[in-house]
């Protein structure tokens, strides 16, 4: 008690963030119960009648259930498969001799990260246009007809994932570059004395060094497996690719805000969150068991 009183200033510093989190993160969590209610704005959250699992069942039986989950899984597993790319890039940058080229390379590789999602998708729409875009023109150069990258269901996940790699691979590699810069140089020297080649050093020094960071990030990613971001997918969606671009978060948005089925939308969202949460705990547990790395 005495210590609390003496440090009252610290609680003052904590207060704004605490209040904001309470109001805008925890109060909505209470609102999640509308997923189990027939919510009507007139009677409010407390006053609306209970509906049990009605809306969950409605979702499980709807034709969008398999479709949205499949699309969400495809896109996130595909993204997950690109997880090693920033690591490879970091290993490569680490091999470059310090100098102007290395700095220039890093500067350029981070650059696309700062392009906003809206501009990024706008860019893709322009450049990928089969008739007037850069890609279309390249195909014409070889006398071929370009595929309609933005208007194709079959190619949607590839376009989504690889444009993401283009935009963020440099930025995502920073954290690994940072980890590599912490390697004790005497380790490399000792390895050289022992006759280790460049590949040996990467294999036995660099990669083990990156593993804890990589695993931590991987766990976080697994926790978000069904949480593929709304922003980019929503912007990339059009009538032509909707079959493979409708994912859980865009569906939640459309059901909820565009057609005002609040309870139904919340139920889908809750289903999504709970699965993510379970995945996160599961993967964390596995990682704890096999590698002694964990988030908590």
């Amino acid at each position: 008690m005495e210590r609390i009183r003496r440090n009252w200033g610290l609680y003052v510093l904590l207060l704004p963030a605490f209040v904001l989190t309470l109001l805008f993160a925890y109060k909505p969590m209470y609102g999640v119960i509308i997923a189990f209610k027939d919510y009507s704005p007139a009677s409010g959250i407390g006053g609306s009648p209970w509906a049990g699992f009605k809306y969950f069942e409605k979702f499980f039986h709807s034709y969008q259930f398999t479709n949205t989950i499949r699309n969400t899984l495809i896109i996130s597993l595909y993204s997950l498969a690109t997880f090693p790319l920033p690591i490879m890039l970091a290993l490569m940058v680490n091999q470059m001799r310090a100098g102007r080229f290395k700095r220039f390379f890093q500067t350029v590789s981070y650059m696309p990260h700062f392009i906003s999602t809206v501009v990024m998708v706008g860019l893709m729409l322009i450049l990928f246009s089969p008739s007037t875009g850069l890609v279309g023109n390249m195909y014409q150069l070889f006398g071929a007809q370009a595929p309609d990258l933005m208007g194709s269901s079959a190619l949607f996940s590839s376009v989504y994932v690889w444009s993401d790699v283009w935009q963020h691979v440099g930025w995502d590699s920073i954290i690994y570059i940072a980890a590599l810069s912490a390697v004790d140089p005497s380790l490399y020297e000792a390895a050289t004395v022992d006759g280790a080649s460049r590949w040996h050093k990467i294999r036995y020094i660099d990669i083990p060094m990156l593993l804890p960071t990589a695993i931590t990030l991987l766990i976080l990613r697994m926790g978000g497996l069904l949480g593929v971001g709304f922003e980019k997918v929503y912007l990339m969606q059009n009538d032509l690719n909707i079959l493979s671009s409708e994912i859980l978060s865009t569906y939640v948005y459309k059901i909820g805000l565009l057609s005002s089925q609040y309870s139904f939308s919340s139920a889908i969202n809750l289903f999504n969150t709970v699965i993510n949460f379970i995945l996160l705990i599961l993967v964390n547990q596995l990682s704890k068991k096999y590698s002694e790395n964990s988030l908590w």
């Binding site: 210590r3 440090n7 200033g9 610290l10 003052v12 510093l13 904590l14 704004p16 605490f18 904001l20 989190t21 109001l23 805008f24 993160a25 109060k27 909505p28 969590m29 609102g31 999640v32 509308i34 490569m92 470059m96 102007r100 080229f101 390379f105 350029v108 981070y110 650059m111 696309p112 700062f114 906003s116 809206v118 501009v119 706008g122 860019l123 729409l125 322009i126 450049l127 850069l134 279309g136 023109n137 283009w166 920073i174 940072a178 460049r198 960071t213 926790g223 709304f230 912007l235 059009n238 009538d239 939640v252 909820g256 805000l257 609040y262 939308s265 969202n269 999504n272 969150t273 996160l280």
Partner: protein, 306 residues
């Protein structure tokens, strides 16, 4: 910056250092240059296309230099009032939002970094839990509406200003770079926590303030999601939402017009798309090389495990 320049810089170390380049290294640098081209060329193309005659661009005649130089796209932009309203709003949201974000996150992070904070574990968990669990779109929307924040300036800068990840990064910074002895000394001199925070801690924390400030600012500059959901009045729209209307929503309709006038309008609209990308991205691209080292620093701080 051209590709030639890139190639030139790779050669420098070889000449200066006299050491031989191995085959493996040669392959690596070749790959690095290909990577650079893949990143830079699309960006460069947008720049030259924005200065070129739209039909030359559409016919595939623009590759390395602008063709049929024109400023028509930029002139057309000047006439678009919406863009300037969006620009003004975005600057306002970015400045105010960043200030609020800094105050809220940095001060909480400092409190959490102090080992003598009673209830430290509870408060940490309180914040971290929100990283993994949230009410979701609709409950959050209803909350915002209940607080009468829907369609207000405030909704863009206040409700989502707590960023737990940033808070953790700042907390790690305080734990590792502000010596605990300082506080002991200040206490003996009769200095309270608040005075100590403002007069001693903050001046020592310029690096982390810069990093978080820039992270938050870039976030505000680029975001459109909250505006899409919580704003209705076009006079409050940030630039990104206006851009969305120009770049993406109109896209589907633009292919439909016929006749001479429609063709001209379509060409102009295409040209404007290039220029609008440039003017929306330039502010960030201009500051970024100067602040890059702080960004790296920030990520490195974040990488340090507790």
């Amino acid at each position: 910056m051209s590709v030639m320049e890139t190639a030139a810089t790779t050669r420098t170390p070889r000449v200066k250092r006299r050491s031989r380049m191995t085959v493996a290294e040669g392959i690596m640098y070749a790959f690095a240059i290909l990577f650079l081209i893949a990143i830079m060329y699309p960006i460069y193309f947008i720049v030259i296309a924005s200065f070129s005659d739209p039909s030359s661009v559409a016919n595939g005649q623009v590759w390395v230099f602008p063709k049929g130089f024109t400023l028509e796209g930029y002139k057309e932009l000047l006439r678009h009032e919406n863009i300037w309203i969006g620009y003004r709003n975005t600057i306002l949201y970015t400045v105010v939002g960043t200030l609020i974000g800094l105050v809220v996150n940095i001060s909480a992070a400092y409190a959490l970094s102090r080992k003598d904070l009673v209830g430290r574990k509870f408060f940490s968990l309180f914040f971290i839990f929100t990283m993994f669990f949230s009410g979701g779109l609709i409950p959050t929307f209803l909350t915002i509406r209940d607080f009468h924040l829907y369609n207000t300036f405030l909704v863009m800068v206040l409700p989502f200003s707590v960023v737990v990840f940033d808070m953790i990064v700042a907390r790690t910074f305080f734990q590792t770079s502000i010596p605990g002895d300082l506080w002991e000394a200040a206490q003996i001199d009769g200095c309270g926590n608040l005075r100590y925070f403002v007069l001693v801690v903050l001046p020592l924390s310029k690096a982390i303030i810069a990093v978080l400030g820039l992270w938050i600012a870039v976030g505000y500059w680029n975001s459109y999601f909250n505006a899409l959901i919580y704003l209705k009045d076009p006079n409050l729209y940030p630039l990104q939402l206006i851009l969305r209307n120009i770049l993406i929503t109109n896209q589907m309709q633009s292919g439909m017009g016929t006749g001479e006038a429609a063709q001209v309008a379509l060409r102009l609209a295409n040209l404007m798309r290039y220029s609008v990308i440039i003017i929306a991205t330039i502010p960030i691209m201009c500051v970024y090389p100067f602040i890059q080292k702080y960004f790296n620093q920030g990520v490195m701080i974040g990488a340090v495990k507790e």
